[in-house]
């Protein structure tokens, strides 16, 4: 993250964490946790800022992203033609649905940290282009709250970019597995010509984004809680 800074006190804190981690490692249960501990160990020995802080910052961004998208969908739904809900395409048609993500809590908690991070980064990467399309079409959206929607789309883009940069840095501190990004290209360029189809497509794209932003948020928060065993107040 852009807040990377080196202080001596942080180094000392890391050393203490290291000692605690070593002690706790003896009592570790699952394989995933053990793996994560080794990751933390190496990372903490090398970096100045502990990963937990980086993850905390990243999850704050993803939280903001998700809340913005939720508000956007609510705003859009306030003036949505009822017919649109009927003929809305199914979410299975989101361009990111091909990505294999955990479906419930148990599955999610068993995914490795690097996998989680990789999933999050892939999802985020997949939305870089569609957000541009959304932003462009928001300018001419036939909707009473068009200005507010357009503003929020801009904010979404900004937060998304910040989060992407942060996750890139994070992935550098983790295993190489975290570096892999699945490609999920977006091929839908045509948002529609008439008013109804414009609104419907916009709504559909936004709902896809809402889901994916929630996925990213959940993955990062799980990661954060795993990395912050010494600081239970973070979870």
């Amino acid at each position: 993250m852009e807040q990377e800074r080196e202080t001596a006190t942080r180094k000392r804190k890391e050393d203490k964490q290291l000692r605690d981690k070593r002690r706790k490692m003896a009592h570790r249960g699952t394989n995933g946790s053990k793996l994560f501990m080794t990751v933390l160990y190496t990372v903490a020995a090398c970096s100045a800022i502990p990963i937990s802080d980086l993850l905390d910052r990243a999850s704050q961004h993803s939280d903001k992203l998700h809340s913005l998208s939720t508000i956007l969908t609510q705003e859009l739904d306030s003036h949505f033609p009822p017919i649109g809900r009927v003929i809305m395409p199914r979410p299975a048609m989101c361009h990111t649905s091909s990505l294999e993500t955990p479906n419930d809590k148990e599955q999610a908690l068993q995914v490795s940290e690097s996998n989680l991070l990789s999933l999050a980064r892939s999802l985020l990467q997949a939305w870089a282009d569609p957000l541009v399309v959304l932003s462009a079409s928001a300018n001419s959206l036939p909707h009473p709250a068009q200005n507010s929607i357009s503003n929020k789309i801009q904010e979404l883009q900004e937060h998304s970019k910040n989060l992407g940069d942060g996750l890139n840095i994070l992935s550098g501190k983790m295993e190489p597995m975290a570096q892999t990004i699945s490609s999920l290209p977006y091929r839908g360029n045509n948002i529609g010509q008439d008013k109804i189809s414009k609104l419907i497509n916009f709504n559909f794209l936004l709902s896809c984004f809402r889901r994916d932003s929630h996925k990213i948020d959940s993955f990062l928060k799980v990661l954060r809680c795993r990395a912050a065993k010494m600081q239970p107040q973070l979870c």
Binding site: D63, H66, P91, N103, D104, K105, R211, H214, R226, C235
Partner: protein
């Protein structure tokens, strides 16, 4: 035969009756297929399970059953609700095994009865969007007293079924606080923590607190039960304490204040010591303060004595030295000088010289003139003063002393004067109508020329002059008076034994020239040449034996 027909007719009637009865029964109790049920919605308390509820429609008078069917994204086929009972009537509970997130469920409820069925509208849900947690539990309040403020600590617990430890769900708590007598609830955000502190609460007030939360920016839970607490009035005890302290401390304080008031003079001296002021020696400040004018004048001039009137002599003139042939002249009491000072002057010369002879006196006069000039040159404050020389007939041998010029330092001069002429006095306080006396100011300093009338000469060699602004020809004088006064010159006829000057009235023609012209008088022939630029004296003086008098001189 007839019996058979009767029974047939009977059964027909009975059948009709039965049928009509049946029909009637059917119409009264209308059985129909069930009405359409309505799916109310689904909620998930922890993002791991969820429950759906519906509202059944009319049941059509027949026992009706409801079934929920769902389809799910990424799952083939239509499935039925796994659990109809755990969540109560008309509900369907999906446990963890049947719950998937980030996938859409399409739910429908079908009502069945004997006559038919009815299907509700399809509801599409994603579990992550329907999260609404249970209310927080165990809200406890604790009042904490600190030094400066009174704080209220609120603690609560999350419901047991919700797992926030793994990060699966992210909580966000919210507090509602209300004072008992107000209507509005104040809301505070408490983040992810399960405690909160209200700072600086008001003592003696009942506070009501309630908590709610939400997960992952979902829906807010219901408010918890409201807990109340009354903040005790801690400050009562403190007030008593402070009252006691203030009462006890006021006693010494009042004592100190009274002492200070009683001894305020001392305090004032101590705090504000008097500033030393310059003191004028000889001047009585108290007398000045009392303010009476005569006293002031006396105070100012108490310690100074007026210098004896020194015979002023015209610079161009010599002294009038009248030498008698007999020794009586030697007596000190004789005054031969005709020039009498009119007012006190500061610069005086003590003519305490003895002269036996004119010539001596001439010389001495010259000396004195020089001295006078010197003195006058050194004198700085002689404006308005007049010089006059008093030359007693007997001039003591004592040399003059340089008189001090200041008012202040007149003691010496007094003494010297008195030593010269013991009986000489310097008071010339009242003047009467007497002859003129030429009083001339010194050229350098004295700008005024005043003439005074000699009022009388008393036995003590005092010429009592009339103080009068005798106006003379202004042009002839440095600073002349404006009035015209006829001037007469009188010749001294004789000086009597008791120092009386007898004058001879005589008018001098010079008078007119003095008056009319602005020219200065020519000095007498006996004038000593000098560079003293006395511009003009209208009257002849000592040498010529003339004395200016006014016509109506009583001496005559």
């Amino acid at each position: 035969m007839a019996v058979h027909s009767v029974t047939v007719r009977m059964t027909r009637y009975v059948g009709l009756a039965m049928l009509s009865l049946l029909l009637a029964a059917v119409e009264c109790n209308s059985m129909s297929p069930p009405g359409k049920p309505v799916l109310l919605g689904c909620t998930s308390p922890e993002k791991e399970t969820f429950t759906c509820r519906w509202e059944p429609g009319s049941d059509g008078g027949l026992p009706t059953t409801h079934r929920l069917y769902y389809e799910r994204e990424k799952l083939e086929g239509t499935h039925e609700c796994p659990d109809y009972h755990s969540a109560g009537r008309n509900s369907c509970y999906f446990d963890k095994n049947h719950t998937s997130i980030w996938v859409d469920y399409y739910l429908t409820v079908v009502a069945f009865n004997a006559l038919g069925n009815a299907t509700s509208d399809t509801l599409r849900i994603d579990v992550v969007e329907i999260v609404k947690p249970n209310t927080p539990e165990n809200v406890t309040l604790l009042v904490e007293e600190r030094e400066e403020s009174l704080n209220l600590h609120v603690r609560w617990e999350r419901p047991h079924n919700t797992d926030t430890q793994s990060g699966w769900v992210t909580p966000e708590y919210q507090l509602g606080v209300k004072q008992e007598n107000t209507n509005r609830w104040k809301e505070f955000k408490a983040g992810r923590q399960t405690h909160f502190t209200l700072y600086s609460v008001n003592p003696g007030v009942v506070y009501m607190v309630r908590v709610r939360w939400r997960l992952d920016h979902g829906s807010w839970s219901e408010w918890s039960n409201t807990t109340s607490v009354k903040i005790p009035d801690y400050f009562q005890k403190e007030r008593l304490f402070w009252i006691l302290v203030s009462t006890l401390s006021s006693v010494p304080f009042l004592a100190a204040m009274s002492i200070m008031v009683m001894k305020r003079k001392h305090v004032k001296q101590c705090l504000l010591p008097p500033v030393p002021r310059p003191k004028i020696r000889g001047v009585d400040v108290q007398l000045l303060k009392s303010g009476r004018s005569e006293d002031i004048v006396n105070a100012l001039i108490t310690n100074q004595s007026f210098p004896p009137l020194v015979a002023w002599k015209d610079q161009m003139e010599d002294y009038l030295i009248v030498c008698d042939n007999d020794d009586s002249i030697q007596s000190q009491k004789r005054k031969k000088s005709l020039i009498i000072p009119a007012v006190f002057h500061l610069d005086r010369e003590i003519q305490c010289k003895e002269s036996t002879c004119v010539q001596n006196d001439w010389e001495k006069a010259a000396e004195r003139k020089d001295e006078i000039n010197n003195l006058i040159n050194s004198n700085k404050s002689l404006s308005g003063e007049r010089l006059s020389n008093v030359e007693p007939p007997q001039l003591p041998t004592q040399k003059h002393r340089r008189p001090s010029i200041n008012l202040v330092n007149t003691d010496a001069t007094d003494q010297s004067l008195s030593s010269c002429d013991g009986t000489a006095e310097n008071t010339f306080t009242s003047f009467a109508n007497s002859g003129y006396v030429d009083i001339q100011r010194h050229a350098g300093y004295v700008q005024e020329v005043d003439y005074s009338r000699v009022k009388e000469v008393n036995t003590d060699n005092i010429l009592i002059l009339e103080k009068e602004n005798v106006p003379l020809d202004s042009s002839g004088y440095i600073q002349g008076h404006k009035e015209d006064l006829p001037e007469d010159y009188s010749r001294v006829k004789e000086v009597t034994s008791d120092s009386m000057v007898l004058l001879q009235k005589q008018s001098v023609s010079l008078d007119t020239s003095c008056r009319e012209k602005g020219n200065h008088y020519t000095h007498s022939t006996n004038q000593k040449p000098g560079n003293h630029h006395v511009t003009g004296v209208c009257t002849e003086l000592i040498d010529s034996g003339y004395v200016d008098t006014i016509p109506a001189s009583p001496l005559m």
